[in-house]
Symmetry: C2
Subunit: 150 residues, 2 copies
DNA sequence: TACACTAAGTTATAAAAAACAACTTAGTTG
DNA sequence: CAACTAAGTTGTTTTTTATAACTTAGTGTA
């Protein structure tokens, strides 16, 4: 795992400090997709080595994205699951799948609405305006609103 | 840049093969945020070294996410901009910012609807059903629909 | 016109991370 | 009891990154 973290006041950099290491996002996605045990995950992620998977699971558990639990005492067997934080990564996964759908030359997946089987699009819903909106802005959390002020 | 790519039939892995290297996503985000020249980007990305930035820009141009253009002949100066593919990464950036908003202990940004200044949520719009939907599924592109079939 | 300075890198080397392969430990199966 | 599986750990090699110094071309200024 990377020792040197990004030192930037930015959600993206800080998020990458947690999920930005090689294999990390794929491990998380694999758990979300249903793999639970060490070897199940390893088998699906063609090319990952034991020590890296071991390391990533350990750090993800520390970071609170994954939780491991003993599901058999004899022999001791662990299963890995996502925490609430881990599950919320689905927005990132979906954004990547959708980007890939439009921009990869070799694309494997699409995201469909289960009921009607049609592909969906990303949208942003404003609870205040009670509708989807397009005009977005990423702003500093503590920023003072200066709109219209001199 | 990483020589060994993920060899997995998965949009996420393939997308990470393009944008998954250390610093890469941050470079792209910095360009999106308005930095245009080599040193502007370097200045904003505290800690990145010249050779890495140089390498990343070169590969991103090859991958078609960034385009560089001479904006001054004397002295020769380049500026970097995102292509359409590069701009479409905004969905991924937003997903990460929103994840960070809920899950980072130290969060820096939020995403607001420009008009009303309220925070937005991620949603998925189904053009067929003409509404936002929750029940999603990531499916193989060539998958045959077996819903309801024996 | 010489000196310092900026932009945009390149090169060389050191340090860190990842890959690879072999080994371990505990238990189970034939 | 020999072979096999799960879930790792350890040691070594290879790749990536980081750090720092250097280059090239032009500008500004005393």
């Amino acid at each position: 795992m990377r020792e040197s973290k990004y030192d930037l006041p930015c959600n993206i950099a800080q998020t990458l400090n947690i999920i930005g290491d090689r294999w990390t996002l794929l491990v998380l996605h694999e758990i979300l997709a249903g793999s639970r045990t060490f070897n199940e995950i390893k088998k699906e992620l063609n090319g990952i080595s034991s020590n890296i998977l071991s390391d990533r699971l350990k750090h993800l558990e520390q970071a609170g994205l994954v939780i491991s639990s003993l599901y058999s005492e004899h022999p001791p067997r662990y299963e890995y699951n996502l925490t609430e934080s881990g599950n919320e990564l689905e927005g990132i996964f979906n954004a990547m799948i959708l980007w890939g759908r439009n921009n990869l030359e070799k694309c494997y997946k699409k995201i469909i609405h289960t009921e009607c089987n049609h592909e969906v699009e990303l949208a942003y819903y404003c609870p205040h305006c009670n509708q989807n909106v397009d005009e977005l802005e990423a702003v500093e959390l503590d920023a003072v609103d200066t709109t219209g002020l001199k």
